[in-house]
Subunit: 180 residues, 2 copies
């Protein structure tokens, strides 16, 4: 039997860690525990090592993002859903990049590998909706699209965030029928 406090602690730690790492990727484990209002032991029972916590934060983020697809498709056109979803993805990529040096190369690679599949699957779902409705060209490739979005978060957000405009250009290229 899992106690309710145990169930809650995990997500509280995850939330605290996400905030803390966004502010400073070098935030210590004890600082995360304190921020979550939890003893150090509890933190370590949930996430036995620092790397495990960092990884979990990102898996959580990816699950949140990929899980949002069906909701976006429910009351929007596929192209608009794809646009909103991708902007969200770019935000997450920027947060990850903000961690920077706090992540070891090995950890960074582990994240990329565990993340790639689900993200491509989510894009595929969005693409399929558009292809079925005839708004997205049938030969559009999810892998290519993810590659292109990689260029979006590299685009500095100063003085204005160019990413939305760049995304619009990419989306224009995906349309089944060229814009008038």
């Amino acid at each position: 039997m899992v106690r309710s406090d145990a169930r809650e602690n995990r997500s509280r730690i995850l939330a605290a860690a996400r905030e803390a790492f966004t502010e400073d990727g070098a935030t210590s484990m004890n600082q995360v525990a304190q921020r979550a209002g939890v003893g150090a032991g509890t933190l370590y029972r949930n996430f036995p090592t620092r790397e495990a916590l960092v990884l979990a934060v990102y898996q959580d983020e990816v699950e949140r993002i990929t899980g949002a697809v069906s909701g976006l498709l429910a009351d929007r056109s596929p192209l608009e859903a794809l646009r909103l979803w991708t902007l969200d993805l770019v935000e997450a990529m920027r947060r990850k990049h903000g961690l920077g040096d706090a992540l070891s190369p090995t950890a960074h690679q582990a994240i990329t590998e565990q993340t790639y599949g689900p993200v491509v699957a989510a894009i595929t779902d969005l693409f399929d909706a558009g292809k079925k409705g005839g708004s997205i060209r049938p030969d559009a490739d999810a892998g290519d699209f993810l590659q292109l979005t990689g260029a979006l978060w590299r685009a500095a957000s100063t003085p204005v965030d160019r990413a939305p405009h760049m995304l619009d250009l990419i989306l224009d290229g995906l349309r089944a029928t060229p814009r008038s």
Copy 2:
């Protein structure tokens, strides 16, 4: 006036750090100091931070390697000098890679940037000697060659080191006249 012990300490620290980092990239600063037979304070006066020490170890290594070019060219054919020199470079690359996770991405980038210029210059010197003597084709490019050697240290050295053989293939491509 620089005391003789002060002059010696720097190179003793550098030597100890090179050995220690080769064995374990996570070797602590105090361990390096102890290994060098030096107080922690002396270590820190010479290298004010961990990253500074790691960087200095590599600069030292690069200077040693690039400095060996003229000696190699003195009593050998340019192609043979290039072959021996490149094998030495591959060894150094393998040592650097062995550090792995102990290096932050930023530090790793700093090393690459500070290293690229001198290494390309050394290759250019070796190439020029061969081009002048007619043994290396005139359109051979130092940057391309460095890029190719990057593939050599990635070649695992089990069960036998394939790098020398791969290098021979590359060198064959550089010859002014094809092999009979």
